[in-house]
Amino acid sequence: MTIPPTDIVYSSATDWFYADLAQRLWRDLPPAWRARTRLWDAPAWLAAPLPARIVIVNWVETTNDPRLSRADVAALMSKVNSVPERVLLAAECVGTVWFRRQLDGPDWTTILDLGRQPQAPPEAVPPGVYRFLRYAPTEAEKGRLAQVCALPPEAFRQRPLPWAIVGGLTPERAALAAALAAWQPNGLAFLPPGEPFQVRADRGRLGKAQLARVLEKTRLYVWTSHHAHPYFESFRLLDALLAGACPVKLDARYADALRQAGCVFATPDELRAFAATEEPWRLVVRLCAEQLEQPSLGAAFAALWPA
């Protein structure tokens, strides 16, 4: 098998999710791949030799790196376009401005859509460029998921926070937080005006460790989105499961299209009925088992480029 020299590039100075994704992906690659793959923080990559393949983990976040000047971003664009194989790794909903802005970057040879189910790419994406990578735990995270499965149901029931909702403030999320508080007042609502997962601790946002600490005390990790397409936000599902919390998505428009996950509801009333049963913990166990059966993140990535 010939694995071309590959660089994975990300920004360690913006939203932590993408930096974390890049690092987890690299660490989880099969050994033969990892030996041929280098992990770069974007500013450092500007001085690196050209690889045969580059994987940019979220172009927009990378170019928002405050350490990069406008000239640096132009240089980055030019350099990425000089690499023979240019892969964009993104976990965005097709049809949103965040997805469209990814297309304003280099001429991608592959757009790798990370999520729970494939999306229909927009017309602007040339045929054959779109590929799907199912989001999955790393091998190390699978160990943690196995531990979660072995926890007693009582431990779940005794968690002090009935629910948690974390995201940027939107009218939809504000309404959901109010509805959840009307049901169980003592849930956690962290909905700042923007950048809820910003990486810098001095911004007062939740880092990966803080989010995990919140979810370890929470029964239901609830989120809602207002995309014009069915979209799951699969990273939230894994965050919840790794902390032993039950993932719950509220989606009034597309609940039917997403129901096979078992954790998507159309209304807060449906959620209340679900939460009143023993189902939330059973769902945690079932979803953990489902995640354990999948190839790990790095293995799934490597399998996209067979020898």
Partner: protein, 259 residues
């Protein structure tokens, strides 16, 4: 005004300054009583203290009968003979409060009774001077939240935290209490004065209460000329607001420090 040396007993005084809010007062007081019952169930001393700022809308008659209706809950009413405005009315309440922590509840808002205990725990565990939480907005078509993040330096440019919070009354009085002539900006001015004294201001990401947007009611967004005056005092040349750093902290009693 000085509150230096004022000692108060452990517990919570729910302080409602009222001026002509007869229409919403029962809702605020109902939520306060429900919160007090939650505190009492946990052995925490508490009281309701209403400062009536010379209302002329029938509030006084309602308040007069209140103490006779709820005999199981300590309730005091302070009657001001002359209208003094919200800042001085709050200061009178802070001075008269029996307990160290004062829950500042405006007469048009509503406390989330189930969570008062959680905020009291947070205030005790962090020794914060101000402890505040999320306020879903009601009475408006567009769902919104106020007071929904820890304090950032941009707070010096524009207030985004409502005064509906749990206050360490002696510490607030020691800082001078609410300034009497700040128009709608008493909350903001006091917070900035407390920050100048290195006071700890803690955000708890839990619903503290419900903020009602009512025509004619005070609003967190300050009128620009008044805000400009305060910026000249606390934020010369926007030096503080441009710092971009966190100036408050985030905490949850069941989780610990989050920021």
């Amino acid at each position: 005004m000085t509150g230096r040396g004022i000692a108060k007993r452990a517990g919570v005084s729910i302080l409602i300054p009222n001026w002509n809010h007869r229409f919403s007062l029962p809702r605020a007081i109902r939520s306060a009583f429900a919160g007090m019952r939650q505190l009492q169930a946990r052995g925490i001393a508490c009281e309701l203290l209403v400062v009536d700022d010379a209302s002329r809308d029938g509030s006084q008659k309602y308040l007069f009968h209140l103490a006779t209706q709820y005999t199981d809950l300590p309730t005091r009413i302070i009657w001001l003979a002359k209208n003094v405005g919200p800042g001085p009315a709050r200061n009178i309440g802070l001075m008269q409060a029996a307990y160290r922590h004062a829950c500042l509840l405006d007469a048009d808002n509503e406390l989330e009774p189930a969570n008062l205990w959680l905020f009291y725990r947070a205030a005790l565990e962090t020794d914060a001077t101000v402890t505040y939480g999320v306020l879903p907005v009601r009475g408006d078509d567009r769902p919104d939240l106020l007071s929904n993040e820890a304090l950032h330096a941009r707070f010096y440019r524009q207030n985004y935290v409502d005064g509906f919070a749990l206050l360490d009354a002696p510490a607030a009085l020691a800082a001078g209490g609410y300034a009497p002539a700040r128009g709608l900006l008493e909350d903001w001015e006091l917070m900035m004065r407390l920050l100048a004294r290195q006071a700890l201001i803690v955000f708890v990401p839990v619903v503290f209460g419900y903020y009602y947007r009512i025509p004619g009611s005070g609003h967190t967004i300050a009128p620009e000329p008044l805000a400009h005056h305060l910026r000249r005092i606390f934020n010369q040349d926007e030096l503080r607001s441009r710092e971009g750093r966190l100036i408050g902290r985030m905490y949850h009693p069941d989780i610990g420090w989050l920021a």
